[in-house]
C-alpha cells in the first residue's frame, strides 16, 4: 500500500501580537505512519495541533486534508472530514457515562439534529461505532461507569476512544501518555500500533522512550520552528537535536 499523504501542513505560522508561536512549520502525515513531534515546553507543539485541527486560525500557511485545501474550514468541518484529535488535558464529558462519551463522539458523523423524535441511544450507527471504539481502547468493562469517576489512565484511554469513535483518517494526539503508569503506557502503545494501518497519526509526546519505539518519523521543534526531521535513528544521532535539548532542556 502506498504511503499517501493524508494531512499536509504548509508554512504554518501563528503569531500572537509580536510573538511567533509557530513559524513556517511544514509537516506531512502519511497513511500507515506515526509521526511524532517532540520539543521542549513552549516549543509550539500543542499550538501546532490546534492549528492543524482548526481550533485556532492560522496567521499564515495552509492545511490540506485528504487532498483538499481545508485552510478556511472550521474545526468541526475538518473533524467531520476525518480529522480527529485528543487533548493534552482530559476534556471528556465527566457527568456522562463512558459509553455516552463515545456515543456522542460517534454521533458527530451522523448528527441528524432535526430528527428530534428519535432516541439517541437507538441510533445504531453511532452506538455501534461507540462500542467499537471503546473496545479498541480497552474500555469494554467500564461502559456504564460515570466518566468523571474512572482513573486517570482510563480517562486518557477514553480520550482516544472518543477520538476513534468519530472514525477519523488522521489522528492528532496531544500527549496521550501524560501521567500514565508503565502498564497503561504499554497498552496505549499497543493500541497505536494497531491503529497505524490505514491511519495517519501525529503524536505529540514527552516520553522519549515511547516516541522512539513507536514513531516512524520524528519532527523536532524548538521555539516554534522545526530544527530536525527524520526517522528515529537519525534523530537519535543528530547533533543539532542534542544541542537544542541540552542547551534548552535545563
Amino acid at each position: 500500500m502506498a504511503n499517501d499523504v493524508l494531512l499536509r501542513g504548509k508554512d504554518i505560522t501563528r503569531r500572537w501580537g509580536g510573538l511567533v508561536a509557530v513559524n513556517k512549520v511544514s509537516i506531512e502525515l502519511e497513511r500507515n505512519c506515526v509521526h511524532a513531534v517532540i520539543g521542549t515546553n513552549g516549543a509550539g507543539k500543542s499550538t501546532l495541533i490546534n492549528l492543524l485541527s482548526g481550533e485556532i486560525p492560522l496567521s499564515d500557511g495552509s492545511v490540506e486534508l485528504l487532498g483538499k485545501d481545508v485552510t478556511g474550514w472550521t474545526q468541526p468541518k475538518r473533524a467531520r472530514a476525518g480529522l480527529g484529535r485528543s487533548y493534552q488535558r482530559n476534556t471528556i464529558f465527566p457527568s456522562f457515562s463512558v459509553f455516552e462519551n463515545c456515543r456522542l463522539a460517534a454521533q458527530a458523523k451522523h448528527q441528524k439534529g432535526w430528527a428530534w423524535w428519535e432516541r439517541a441511544d437507538r441510533c445504531s450507527v453511532s452506538t455501534d461505532s461507540a462500542r467499537d471504539a471503546a473496545h479498541r481502547a480497552g474500555l469494554d468493562k467500564l461502559m456504564d461507569r460515570t466518566a468523571g469517576m474512572i482513573s486517570h489512565g482510563q480517562k486518557r484511554q477514553l480520550e482516544i476512544a472518543m477520538c476513534l469513535a468519530t472514525d477519523p483518517k488522521v489522528l492528532l494526539l496531544d500527549e496521550p501518555l501524560a501521567g500514565m503508569g508503565a502498564e497503561e503506557t504499554e497498552r496505549m502503545l499497543a493500541m497505536l500500533d494497531e491503529l497505524r494501518p490505514d491511519h495517519a497519526i501525529l503524536l505529540v509526546e514527552h516520553d522519549m522512550d515511547a516516541v522512539f519505539r513507536v514513531a516512524n518519523q520524528i519532527t523536532v521543534m524548538v521555539n516554534g520552528t522545526v530544527i530536525a526531521r527524520g526517522d528515529p535513528d537519525f534523530i537519535r544521532n543528530s547533533p543539532e537535536v542534542r544541542v537544542a535539548y541540552l542547551g534548552e532542556g535545563h
Binding site: 485541527s53 481550533e55 472550521t74 474545526q75 468541526p76 468541518k77 473533524a79 467531520r80 484529535r85 487533548y87 476534556t91 471528556i92 464529558f93 465527566p94 457527568s95 456522562f96 455516552e100 456515543r103 456522542l104 463522539a105 454521533q107 458527530a108 458523523k109 451522523h110 448528527q111 441528524k112 439534529g113 432535526w114 430528527a115 428530534w116 423524535w117 428519535e118 432516541r119 439517541a120 441511544d121 441510533c123 453511532s126 468523571g148 472518543m162 468519530t166
Partner: protein, 338 residues
C-alpha cells in the same frame, strides 16, 4: 429519567388533571392554571440554562412577545381559533428569538447573560414607549379564542385543562427532544463545548436552534397567559419576570425537566403562602421577607435545588455528610469572569 422519577412526574400530572374535579374551587383553578403557564415558561428556560448551559436573562421577552402576539392577532372582530392563534404566537416569539440568538450567541458566559438582558430590555421599551401594544397601560383581548364550536376559553375549566394539556405536551416534547441526538448534543455543549467542536459538531446552529425552540415555547406560555388573563402589559417583558423564571429553575434544580416543574410550583405556591393574610395577618404585606429567607435557606442546604431534596434527606438520615455539588454543568458562565 429513571423509573421512579417518571412515575413521580406522571403522578403530578394525574393529580393536576383530577384537581378541578375533586377539590379545586374557582380560585384554586385560576391559580393552578397560572402556575402551569409559568411552568411552561420555566421549562422553556430549562432547555437553555439547564440543558445547553446558556444562561438567558431575557426569557420574559419571548413570553411577552407570545402574549402580545396572541392579543394583536386576535383582532376585534370575533373569536379566533386557538388552532392557528397559538402557533402564530409561537412563531412570532421564535422569530424574535432567532434574531436575538443569532446575535447574542457571539458572546459567552456573563456577557451572554447581559446581552440577552439587553435585548429583552429593548423589547420592553419598544412596547412600553410605542402605541403599538397600548403603551405602558397594555392592551386587552376583545374575544378569547375558541376551539371548535364547543370549547370556549372564557370558561376557566377549559382554560385549566387546555393549559395542563399544553404543559404535558411541552414536558413530553422536551423529554423526547433531550433524549434525541439533538438533545444529547446540547448536553454535550453544556458540559464541554470545545470538545464538541473538536469532535465535529458545529455548535452554533445547535445553540441557535435551542434558543429558537426555547423562545417559541416561552411564546406559547405567553400566549396562554394572554388568553387566560385577557390582558397584557409591558411588565410581562420586564427583567423581573426573566429573573423569576431563572429563580424557579434554580430553586427546582437545574439539569432536570422536573426541576423546572417543581421549581415553578414551589416558587409560586410559596408566594401565595407568604401572602396569605389568614396565616400571617398584617405581616402578609411583608411577604417578600419570607420569600427571601426561604431562598437563602434553599441555597444553603439544597445546592442542587429541590430535586436534590430526597438525596439530602437520605444522607441526613443515613448520617453521612451533604451531597457533593453538581459536576460540570454551568461552568461556562464562569468563563467570562476569569
Amino acid at each position: 429519567m429513571d423509573k421512579s422519577k417518571g412515575i413521580f412526574v406522571a403522578l403530578v400530572f394525574m393529580a393536576l388533571a383530577l384537581y378541578p374535579f375533586v377539590g379545586g374551587g374557582g380560585y384554586g383553578i385560576d391559580i393552578v392554571t397560572k402556575i402551569m403557564i409559568y411552568a411552561i415558561l420555566a421549562l422553556s428556560l430549562e432547555l437553555l440554562v439547564g440543558t445547553t448551559g446558556l444562561v438567558c436573562f431575557g426569557q420574559a421577552a419571548f413570553f411577552g412577545i407570545g402574549a402580545y402576539a396572541a392579543v394583536l392577532f386576535s383582532g376585534e372582530q370575533g373569536a379566533a381559533s386557538i388552532l392557528w392563534l397559538l402557533p402564530a404566537s409561537m412563531l412570532a416569539a421564535a422569530v424574535y428569538a432567532l434574531a436575538v440568538g443569532a446575535l447574542s450567541l457571539r458572546t459567552r458566559g456573563v456577557y451572554f447573560i447581559m446581552v440577552t438582558l439587553a435585548f429583552a430590555q429593548m423589547a420592553y421599551f419598544v412596547v412600553h414607549d410605542t402605541p403599538l401594544g397600548g403603551g405602558t397601560d397594555g392592551i386587552y383581548l376583545y374575544f378569547r379564542p375558541t376551539l371548535g364550536e364547543k370549547l370556549k376559553f372564557d370558561e376557566p375549566l377549559v382554560m385549566y385543562l387546555f393549559s395542563l394539556g399544553t404543559l404535558v405536551f411541552v414536558f413530553g416534547f422536551l423529554t423526547v427532544l433531550l433524549n434525541s441526538r439533538f438533545g444529547r448534543a446540547l448536553a454535550g455543549i453544556r458540559v464541554n463545548e470545545q470538545r464538541m467542536r473538536g469532535t465535529g459538531f458545529t455548535t452554533y446552529p445547535y445553540k441557535l436552534a435551542a434558543f429558537v425552540i426555547s423562545g417559541g415555547l416561552a411564546g406559547l406560555g405567553g400566549a396562554l397567559f394572554a388568553i387566560k388573563d385577557g390582558f397584557v402589559n409591558p411588565e410581562l417583558m420586564s427583567w423581573h419576570l426573566s429573573g423569576a423564571a431563572l429563580m424557579m429553575i434554580i430553586l427546582g434544580g437545574l439539569g432536570h425537566l422536573r426541576g423546572a416543574l417543581i421549581g415553578a410550583f414551589a416558587f409560586l405556591l410559596l408566594q401565595e403562602f407568604f401572602k396569605a393574610e389568614a396565616i400571617f395577618g398584617e405581616f402578609a404585606k411583608h411577604w417578600h421577607l419570607g420569600m427571601g429567607i426561604v431562598i437563602i435557606a434553599a441555597v444553603a442546604v439544597l445546592p442542587r435545588g429541590l430535586v436534590g431534596l430526597p438525596e439530602v434527606l437520605r444522607k441526613r438520615l443515613a448520617g453521612s455528610g451533604g451531597g457533593e455539588s453538581r459536576i460540570g454543568g454551568l461552568k461556562s458562565a464562569q468563563g467570562g469572569a476569569k
